[in-house]
Symmetry: C2
Subunit: 485 residues, 2 copies
């Protein structure tokens, strides 16, 4: 626990309105979108200025506590879960789009802006912010940058990193820097911005982000293709790429996921098929129609049972729903849903899916698989029950094997969710000691007292290491203790 004298100093920085430590508030911020992991923060702070964050971090260095930044808390790797002796710092109330600069195709935004709101705001001006994580309706830009969020448009448009021009950041020592700017080209010194994107809140707290925008594609065409064999859909994907077409989305669902989606959303999907592809092309209308026609041919050539093409935006939204509902639909099947993001080179998608299915079967587990076939970013999803310790143990073993297979196939343990707490124990194996050693050295140089999001990505060296979060037992004991008033 952070000593009361220290908590009083923290409260004096943020004022009573910006400092929460009731039992209810602490429980509310003890978890995020990640299953199984929870830990109570000692307090929650709501900054009203960058200066307050600076002062908090200086105090954290002086008195030895951790600061865990948090946007919407929709992360899937435990990145915003508190650890022992830590306060949660909220940024989701900073939700203003500060400026959209149409001359320089850029936007300054506060970190708490919801990704989908930014989409709407810039699209209304004929502009486009491509990154679209699955959680776009609830997640924040600050969280997207901290995790280098991906999404459905990765293949054609890239990920969050490709759209960050600059940012204002409070460093672990409390200093504030602005790194990057509206110049598309900038090679003045190390690119601190690129050090910070995807650093999961461990190197700095993002207080403003400058994003790159592009002209909005004028037209798009959306279709679903159904297959009786997974390998046929995989060959379709390869052939589309070989034809030099780059779809805006190229997504797949397996049978378990299709059945769950149909039960949940009643979209009229055939539930007996082995897999489906959601394919979207965008750009100028002539080009889009040409590509769409070629794709239909390719789908047919690879044995597609049926192809549904949206005639208008309303129908497109409905087809997209087949993919967008996947997580929610799977989450209804059993009490606990462990959604992972093992990622492989595109050419290895089919072999990887076969291995996932074999591993699931070996461990007697139920898996649904869906994901971004076009960029190899898969979402093997284990449908389980956290109250069944044995099943959870088997799930952990299975994911360990899945991550090993992904690495063996030239892929990675996480394509877009981050390492956080959830994949910490797999990281070293995936990257090897020299790479981890370099990361640790950088973390220790920038944050020698380990005040920023401690214990995330990689466990620190012994001198800095704090205990890892416990499980829900801690919350239960806390609730049972009568701390609620």
């Amino acid at each position: 626990m952070i000593p009361q004298t220290t908590l009083a100093k923290i409260r004096s920085i943020f004022g009573s309105a910006g400092f929460l430590d009731s039992a209810e508030d602490r429980i509310a911020y003890s978890y995020d979108g990640t299953p199984l992991l929870t830990h109570l923060p000692d307090a929650i702070v709501i900054p009203q200025s960058v200066d307050q964050i600076s002062r908090l971090l200086k105090l954290a260095n002086d008195e030895g506590f951790g600061v865990v930044p948090r946007g919407s808390g929709s992360g899937l790797s435990g990145g915003s879960i508190p650890v022992e002796n830590s306060v949660v710092l909220l940024t989701n109330h900073w939700d203003r789009i500060i400026e959209i600069d149409q001359n320089n195709l850029s936007a300054w935004v506060q970190p708490g802006v919801i990704t989908a709101k930014l989409h709407s705001a810039v699209e209304a001006l004929g502009l486009f912010y491509p990154p679209d994580p699955g959680s776009a309706a609830i997640c924040t830009i600050g969280g997207n940058v901290a995790e280098n969020a991906g999404g459905l448009r990765g293949l054609k448009y890239g990920v969050t990193k490709n759209y960050v021009l600059g940012m204002e950041v409070v460093l672990p020592n409390g200093e504030v820097i602005v790194t990057g700017g509206k110049s598309v080209k900038d090679v003045a010194g190390y690119s601190l911005k690129d050090f910070l994107i995807g650093s999961e809140g461990t190197l700095g707290i993002i207080t403003r982000v400058l994003l790159r925008l592009i002209p909005k594609p004028q037209f798009s065409r959306t279709m679903l293709a159904f297959y009786s064999k997974l390998s046929d859909s995989a060959e379709t994907v390869s052939d589309i790429i070989a034809s030099k077409i780059t779809p805006a989305a190229l997504e797949f669902l397996d049978n378990t996921t299709i059945r769950s989606v149909e039960e949940y959303a009643h979209l009229g999907l055939p539930t007996s098929i082995d897999s489906l592809l959601l394919i979207e092309v965008d750009g100028r209308s002539a080009e889009v129609e040409e590509d769409a026609a070629k794709i239909v041919d390719i789908c047919k050539r690879h044995g597609a049972l049926e192809i549904r093409i949206a005639a208008n935006e309303q129908e497109a939204t409905k087809l997209r729903m087949a993919r967008k509902a996947a997580f929610s639909a799977l989450a209804r099947v059993r009490p606990t849903t462990i959604l992972e993001d093992a990622t492989v080179p595109r050419s290895e998608v089919a072999p990887m899916l076969e291995r996932i299915n074999r591993i699931a079967s070996n461990h007697n587990l139920m898996f649904g698989n869906f994901g971004h076939a076009g960029d190899g970013n898969l979402h093997p999803t284990c449908l389980t029950d956290e109250r069944d310790a044995n099943e959870i143990h088997r799930a952990e073993l299975a994911f360990g094997e899945i991550f090993s297979e992904a690495v063996r196939l030239g892929g990675t343990i996480t394509g877009e969710h981050g390492v956080g707490l959830a994949k910490l124990k797999f990281l070293e194996k995936a990257l090897g000691e020299p790479a981890i050693d370099m990361m640790r050295k950088i973390k220790e140089a920038v944050d020698p007292n380990g005040v920023l999001n401690p214990g995330k990505i990689f466990s620190l060296r012994p001198r800095c290491e704090g205990p890892l979060p416990t499980n829900r037992e801690q919350i239960k004991k806390f609730a049972d203790s009568g701390a609620f008033t």
Copy 2:
């Protein structure tokens, strides 16, 4: 000087064929593409294996000398110029394209591959590697990655960073890592690859690079537009962007540059005009023709005196020559050519050019200006004579003012050339102490003995600081001393 005993150990790593220390060789590697800066290396090494580089770096840490990696030596910021007690490590002989993977749209290449050769190789397969630095015909991919090279296609396609998927790197301690991979999405730990891109050889030696490729645009249209007023060409640029068109190239030349190009290349350019724009659009033919027509309208609306549109690829090559010959043409005007890359947000190009002209005139200097109008990356080029110490001094003052103006307008001191030695003294002013401090901490954590490309980007703290390179006087004395045999 590195002691003879140490040099003998270095020679024993590389063998006689891989170790050069004759006076001729040392002079040949004492300079790069940057004017005014030279320094003699103590030796030059030519590795035949990654292991030799590891052993060299371990020895450098043990015995305290610097290692300066070098590709083609075409850099313009002094990044490959030796410093005291250093050996130059060549990579330009490692010039093999290892693999082009058409399924995963990627290529593994050795660092010494010439950028233009990669262009040809992938384009023959219908693929495209967009980064095209002005020196593409001679520069290496390793150098491009180390400097995060830009080029003409930055506005539409981005820079080198956007096309690096992974790399094999020897770290300063001699450890070898492979970071990144063929997965487009990868957020496993800090992105070491992004730490290393643009780190100017100060954090690692690149021994293999995995590049991202895209489908080759099917069609392009190239045109030149001539203007009697610079402001008209600037407004044309703004209006093209406002029309949601993203040209593949949007380049400008001022009158001094146009006259020099015409004298040099005899392209039939009108030498009385104030500026010209080179505009290129690419993509599908229908889209390209539509955009080209819109652009012609915009050019006319802003008072273009004449618009020349290439009817075929041969004519396009000729029009492009107006821009591509700029540096060579200006370099003929006076003995010493200082080409810089002050960069501003696109909206500030016209004000920036006015200021450059005023500064040049205040210091009684001759400047030619050209550059990437579309992304704000300008090339103010001072035409001078290094034998005139007073004029060189005035040039230094002028560039100091130009960089300050660029920063004041929200830009940067270097858009694509890097800091190296040439802009070291401007960097701190541009970025501020907290940012520089973070960069230094990272450098010191990763390379505590400062063995990799010492003294580049920022001067190290006193304990590590080595003397900066001297000027050509040193070479002259060396040559006069009779060391030549």
